[in-house]
């Protein structure tokens, strides 16, 4: 009986302390609540454990036909502003001329594909390169974010918590790949999430699904049965700007030295 009373009293004290803390430090209380609550985009029935995955993407440059279906699908799927200044993914066209000069273009992120370039004469070789966030193993954007709004999830995906983002744009400056932009309406940093809302449900990112030539391969990096693992085994692989030591997790097959 005595024990019961003390434990009850202890509970009351705990509640009071909690309330006082809530009044004094409301942020800490809400932060604690948020951590238990499932994230907004994941519905509670989804059983996804980020610790069990390591996601990456393979891009086969030889397979890309520059149709831009990926850019388009991404904009629709992720509600990216349609204006030609905001892209989570885009496709670049490279035309290396006989004289060594390279013409690069990417009209409207290649959403409408490409037309013949006025200067494309004496072309030695030409190819398309889809670009997106590289979900670096050592992401400079995560390093510089002053409040930790940009973070690396346990599955290696680099995400932005819009509720925390101040819109200081330091991450945009720090990204060597131009993969980030400031959403013109929410005024927070935006980028490719590998369609996180889809991959937690076992689906593929929209760009991968939309690609008619299977130039983009999405999957697990650490599992031998994964198509991405096979892709890395069967091809000569390169990453963008390797000298910066960001360790990208988007791997390109048949990457040309012209691509920056």
């Amino acid at each position: 009986m005595k024990n019961l009373i003390t434990s009850k009293r202890r509970d009351v004290l705990k509640t009071m302390a909690g309330l006082a803390a809530g009044v004094l430090f409301p942020k800490f209380l809400t932060a604690e609540q948020e951590s238990v609550k499932p994230m907004d985009w994941a519905d509670e029935s989804i059983n996804y454990n980020p610790h069990e995955h390591t996601w990456g993407m393979g891009v086969d440059i030889d397979k890309c036909i520059g149709c831009g279906r990926c850019s388009n699908a991404c904009k629709i799927e992720n509600d990216v502003p349609k204006e030609p200044f905001f892209f989570r993914t885009w496709v670049e066209r490279y035309q290396v001329k006989e004289n060594g000069e390279t013409i690069i273009d990417c009209p409207n992120g290649a959403i409408d594909g490409f037309e013949k370039h006025p200067e494309s004469e004496d072309v030695l070789r030409s190819f398309f390169v889809p670009k997106l966030c590289n979900h670096c193993e050592k992401p400079p954007c995560v390093q510089v974010c002053p409040v930790g709004a940009t973070f690396q999830s346990a599955d290696g995906v680099v995400l932005v918590d819009a509720e925390y983002c101040l819109g200081c744009r330091y991450c945009i400056q720090a990204c060597p790949y131009g993969a980030r932009f400031l959403h013109p309406v929410t005024k927070t940093a935006e980028k490719c999430t590998f369609c996180y809302h889809r991959i937690v449900r076992g689906e593929e990112p929209a760009c991968v699904e939309a690609c008619p030539t299977e130039a983009r391969i999405f999957g697990e990096l650490d599992q031998k049965a994964s198509p991405l693992h096979r892709f890395k085994r069967m091809n000569h692989i390169g990453v963008l700007k390797p000298a910066l030591n960001t360790e990208p997790k988007v791997f390109y097959a048949h990457l040309d030295m012209e691509v920056k």
Partner: protein
């Protein structure tokens, strides 16, 4: 509505692009406000270093500008964070930088560096330096004014020789701590840029040091200007020994600053890394007028030669004053251009190293020219108020009055 404005602002820029830039790079993210921020903190650090010459290195000739330098530093540091705050997409969340800082982020340290400098260095030094005056002013005033000065003196009363001697000692100790702190304040701002490996224009270990010396240059030049404007307004005569000394310090620090900038330039050209082509194109096309003309020629070479000329030839006092004044203005133009060339220049080339873009300044709006001009004027208004309240030349004026009365 917001979207329409942005589209209207960005669409014409598409035609200005030369070569290839990534599609997300058309919008330039750090504009005029972010140029003003390092300019202001540079003036703070520079003015403080100048003040410290008097207290730590015993440069007696500069005594007339000691309090002016300290108050200038305070006036400018109060405004310094405002441009940063105004450029945030969500200024209302800025306090998160204190509550949940990312310890790996250089920017997260901003609040702590700033608070340390403002609270532990500037305010404390000013309080010890003005304590006796505040008590005397409280004794001489009545009513609300009395209480105002009493509050400012934090209700201290002791003006015995022993207490005043302690004040002097405290000021000296704080200044000694203050010098590395001022270096930290502005060197840190340089580090914010210098540590971005994605950007070859910024990523340089020299940037924090160049920032620091250019800060001292701008701070000394500002105090020269203020001293030359305020002294006649107080019906006093400019102390030429002090002014010559200020100009000398300006000259020598400019030589160090210029040498560092040249070293940076030579180093880049000599190493000639992957980015050299696009950076050369940047300097020749987009930054020619602001870098070669404004920063180097007008802001550095002309004032350097002017002051060197004054030092070499016997120049009469009035002409000397004029030349110093003009040089100090040119130096301000030059240092502002330096900040511009770093901040804006670093965003005018694509990280693909294949193309250049442009920056279109707006006039209205939070990030426009109007707000920026207001932010540059505000420190002077604050300085005027500080001078009105703290009466930095009170003792000096009283001594002069007593002297003339006795005659």
């Amino acid at each position: 509505m917001i979207m329409e404005e942005i589209v209207q602002h960005l669409t014409p820029l598409l035609d200005e692009v030369t070569g290839y830039i990534f599609p997300n790079e058309i919008e330039l993210h750090w504009g005029l406000l972010v140029v003003i921020y390092p300019y202001l903190t540079g003036l703070v650090a520079g003015a403080f270093i100048l003040a410290s010459l008097v207290k730590v290195f015993n440069v007696k000739e500069l005594q007339p500008t000691y309090r002016l330098s300290l108050l200038t530093a305070l006036a400018f540091i109060i405004i310094a964070p405002l441009p940063l705050l105004a450029h945030l997409g969500h200024p209302e969340k800025s306090f998160e930088i204190f509550l949940t800082p990312n310890v790996n982020s250089a920017m997260a340290m901003f609040g702590f560096v700033y608070a340390w400098y403002l609270m532990a260095v500037l305010l404390l030094e000013l309080w010890f330096d003005f304590r006796k005056d505040l008590i005397l002013m409280a004794n001489e005033s009545r009513g609300i004014k009395k209480w105002f000065y009493k509050t400012l003196s934090l209700f201290s009363k002791d003006i015995s020789d022993k207490a005043v001697a302690f004040d002097h000692k405290a000021v000296r100790v704080i200044t000694i701590i203050g010098i590395p702190s001022a270096f930290l304040l502005h060197g840190y701002v340089g580090f914010l840029f210098g540590s971005i490996k994605a950007n070859p224009w910024w990523s340089s270990v020299l940037i924090p040091i160049v920032f620091l010396f250019s800060a001292i240059v701008s701070g000394v030049a500002l105090v020269i200007l203020l001293y030359m404007i305020i002294t006649p307004l107080r019906n006093k005569i400019v102390d030429m020994i002090c002014l010559d000394k200020l100009a000398s310090y300006l000259f020598y620090i400019m030589i160090v600053d210029f040498s560092l900038e040249i070293l940076d330039f030579i180093h880049r050209v000599y190493e000639s890394e992957e980015s050299i082509k696009i950076l050369a194109s940047l300097v020749q096309n987009r930054l020619f007028s602001s870098l070669v003309i404004m920063q180097v020629l007008i802001g550095m070479i002309i004032p350097l030669f002017t002051i060197a000329g004054v030092k070499t030839f016997k120049v009469p006092a009035d002409l000397r004053k004029l030349l110093y004044f003009i040089s100090a203005i040119l130096v301000q133009v030059g240092i502002f251009s330096t900040r511009w060339n770093v901040v804006i220049g670093g965003q005018l080339f694509s990280k693909s190293f294949m193309g250049l873009t442009t920056y279109k300044m707006t006039f209205f709006g939070l990030e426009g020219l109007l707000v920026s001009i207001a932010l540059l004027i505000m420190p002077f208004i604050i300085l005027w108020m500080l001078i009105k309240i703290l009466k930095p030349w009170r003792a000096e004026d009283a001594a002069v009055a007593a002297h003339s009365a006795s005659q």
